[in-house]
Subunit: 344 residues, 4 copies
């Protein structure tokens, strides 16, 4: 199996490290030939950890100096459109982390520039590649629970996100940064687009964490009506303190399906009968979605090799952004918001 | 232990049978001395099954002929106010099934008449007495998960309710008939009243079951903002086909708690590796909440004996009805509805 | 339903209390009309707790003074044969706690005297009435796992038994006092008698608990070959410290079945991601086998009413005692022992 | 990270494929530079599947033609000693599949030849590298359950092993071929060697599978007394039909620990309330111990790189073989057998 797909990792932070690990360690068909990050110390650390010896401050420089097939963009949301344009116009395939962009105009620009330049665009919705989610999708398609009627999802994460990701003036906040995966997963499993959404938010831990962002919220519950008349909801809590939690439940007209669990390891201990059984939990997202990250990146590499279209692309990213915008408008205006209001 | 509390069971149908079973079989301190139901065949069957030999067409007749301390009202919602008035004015304590009544005026009348006549009023929210819910409440009070931030609940039941209970012209529909327990349980565990609610509904199985009621719905998702700023939601599905399912999940600023499970029996079988492990499920509500029904009725009997106020009373029933009214208004007007709009 | 079966509870200690609770609280068809225990304080306490106002020092006295249909013998093993003889010769049906007796001669005497006097004899193997064990038995009979090939069982209990029950000079020790239920359950589910047994024992906590009994053991592993050629094993640990644990696993030529679980309540909590999920455990045997105790005593009462033979009787008790004797001989002589060696 | 450890895979069958997958796919620091198998078709298939283009009929030929650091021996047990001698005498490090050898003389020869030639010897006990087993070991070492008192293990596999592996005239049968891992794991977790063992066997499916080997058995239960006085047992069933099942349970003087589970995927479905919840199971060993295989081979490669001694070596393999020999002698002579009888 030749190491014949060459990649440039753009962003050397948490996600850049996670994806580098997946490729270097578990995907022999891909190779990271350069690492881009203007923060030299971070770049050096990530480069050293994964044996990536070639690094640059900017994507342009990397393109100029090194030959590669595609880029993996793991930088903050505001930079997505610009980096994608650079990559696409230089003929590089694009793997883009969620959320796709800050607004629909940027999404359109990303879709357009990749199409026009004939490069692939894959969005980083790794749940679509996580084995138990894939198994659930396959079972639903096979009719095991009949026609889906109602879907529930949750993403609760332990740590406070960086400030820019909590502030609606610089990002779309938790609905985008934490719940992008829920937006995508409920739409994928229900096989229908959102018709309207209603979102409640609350700021319940801000004071505890000394957050002074005026529009900060750390809890959300989103209600969704799909175009086909079915219902859905998801919750987001961040920081939630107790671990990394991502599960779904879907009811069809013939049955119910549960996807995922909190248990992180097949060991159970009891040494105090007043306390009870203790089971380890998933603590962090890289552990929770280990295989999803491996398989999504392998899929991207396979698509580059074969030229086939990625299973999750620009339209999927765009719908998730549209959901975020409608959800945000909903809690701001305290009313249900139709997708057509934000999608025009 | 003397059999010294005498009760009159009003209603000999499904719930009347369930409660008769609980008392006759598991509560030695209570005794059913008469059974009221105008449907003679049903009354005869239930009477025979539980050894209740004295039966009447009406509560008035029972009061006239037999001596007892309290009534257990298990009849359809529209009859609740009238039966409570009769009981209270004759000095009988009242155990009243949910939903309390069709509207808040009826609730007020029930509260008033029981107060004025000095009789106890207990609402049939048996989840407050179900061991795992009680354990959860106790743990929350003890601070195990910190301050509750978000609560989720669900009630999914297998069978199509009777026609009157599905039609908004004769009842408050699924939000009342199926989800009364969720309304009460989320309020109880969060320790806060609802501020506003938003409800989505869908009719996804009506056609399959040949339901021709114009306002029928069988799926609902309700979003709740509590007065203390926290969030909640619950779902209702009826008929759901796969069993009787009632679970909750509550997240506090220090942790998460799961209450209840689908598993109905501690046996697991595997005889086909392509199929997997099979675990029995709860099939019906009397099995799911067996202990809740026993303990709530025992509590009522204890209150009669001791004169103490029941732990769940008219105000709790009234809040659940108010939630139902706000939820119904919400899906009818497609907007969030404040409780103050329906409670005045 | 008339309270028409009158019972005399013999023994007012832990088991006497447990069985009184089951009858007084959950079995309306039975009534405890007298309580026998020479220890006056214990008798007074148990009598007060369950409203049994008539008490005696001896069974003879009770028989002389009060009318009843049967006795429930919950006293220490050495007293079983004498009490059974008194009851049987006075025409009282006998419910006898495990272990049946100290040796096979006593078992034979018990079987003989009850037969000759035409009274029923039921052994206190409540697992045969515990819902998940009954469900397992039914599923096995229905062929769900094919022909049973191997059975495993365990009973691990938290507390140190009373001294007489730990000493082979005064009882048959843990194999009898703790594992009688395993002896019976494996034989019942496999549908075959033991052919030979091999037992290992260990004294691993004796020092910690300052036990100075020379033959004391607190851990045992017993291997069983059944007459039909299948295999079985069980473990006993007492005291085990972590809770009350009783589970089984049985493999047939078509599948596997697991019976029971450690989890004692449907609540799960997580408030520390380094610690993990916490689930309450069964702490004590009355909680673990609540329904088994209720149903076995109800079965006894039903048999008295109907005259039908109890489902678990003298032969079953005798086989369990034979197993204990063979197991004890095995660890003493450090070799497998055939049942025919001890049964003659 | 340089691909600097070169390996020769000896044996292209089921295990050879499994280990090739682990290395090619998940261990970038190792490289398979040649594949040895006299069965040309099998070799071609495995070579093609994993991109190993260089293949030979014999290890000698591979050594002669290609440069590598170590061998991975996955061939049937009888070939182990000869292949190890060839490898060691040519300075190649040895990773050897279980069971180590047919008898203790062969074990000694393997230990001696690798020592004398200064090459590493690692045994293929992958459970020592499987995350939940490692976590359990770590927790035990940290004192979480106190001093281990009793260990239970099981390995039940779905398929009938090849004929040579079922016949005591050509191998040591199921105790060796299936239960080698249990022998090693119980010794590892208890931290003590076997003092004596007692084994029961049964042939319960031979007829169903038309097995005509006279000494065939498919069920075994083994009782172990450890040198430190603690107890252990394990079961083997093969073929068991219902899936691949490998779990352990260990009780210490302070608590209990369960390791592993039957559940193979975090998806649960219910679409029939009479049937219940369905959970996928582990079907085959490569799926069950995926990470164990990756980590054990990575450990071997790390040891080659660093020169450090593998964590599981010749002595461990030798003890497992000694257990097999004592167990076999036990069921043949129908008595407990001390290890000193077979180890001299």
């Amino acid at each position: 199996m030749k190491k014949n797909v060459k990649l440039c990792m753009v962003g050397a932070g948490r996600v850049g490290k996670n994806h580098s690990h997946a490729i270097v360690r578990h995907i022999p068909s891909g190779e990271i030939v350069s690492l881009v990050d203007p923060a030299e110390a971070v770049r050096a650390e990530t480069g050293a950890e994964f044996g990536i010896t070639v690094g640059f401050d900017s994507l342009e420089e990397a393109i100029d100096k090194v030959d590669f097939d595609g880029v993996i963009i793991t930088t903050p949301t505001p930079s997505h459109v610009e980096l994608t344009v650079i990559a696409a116009e230089n003929g590089k395939h694009v793997f883009l982390e969620k959320p796709m962009a800050l607004n629909l105009e940027e999404c359109d620009r990303i879709i357009e520039v990749t199409r026009k330049n004939g490069v692939l665009l894959q969005l980083g919705f790794m749940r679509r590649f996580q084995p138990e989610f894939v198994a659930a999708y396959t079972r639903i398609q096979a009719g095991e629970i009949g026609n889906p009627m109602m879907v529930k999802s949750l993403t609760h994460g332990p740590g406070l996100p960086p400030k820019w990701a909590c502030d609606l003036r610089t990002s779309n906040g938790m609905l985008a940064e934490v719940n992008s995966h829920d937006w995508d997963a409920v739409r994928w499993l229900m096989g229908s687009n959102y018709d309207r959404v209603y979102a409640e938010i609350a700021n319940l831990k801000g004071e505890m964490f000394n957050v002074d962002i005026p529009n900060f919220y750390d809890n959300t519950l989103v209600n969704i009506k799909f175009e086909n008349g079915t219902l859905g909801m998801f919750s987001g809590i961040c920081p939630c303190s107790y671990g990394y939690d991502a599960r779904m439940e879907i009811v069809g007209d013939k049955g119910i399906m549960q996807i995922g669990e909190m248990k992180g390891e097949a060991v159970i201990v009891c040494n105090d009968r007043d306390h009870g059984l203790v089971t380890p939990i998933f603590k962090r997202w890289p552990q929770r979605f280990l295989w999803g990250y491996i398989y999504e990146l392998e899929h991207f590499i396979d698509c580059i090799r074969s030229g086939k279209e990625p299973a999750v692309g620009g339209e999927d990213g765009r719908w998730a952004v549209a959901g975020v915008l409608a959800g945000t408008k909903s809690f701001q205006e305290e009313r249900p918001v139709y997708l057509k209001e934000v999608m025009k």
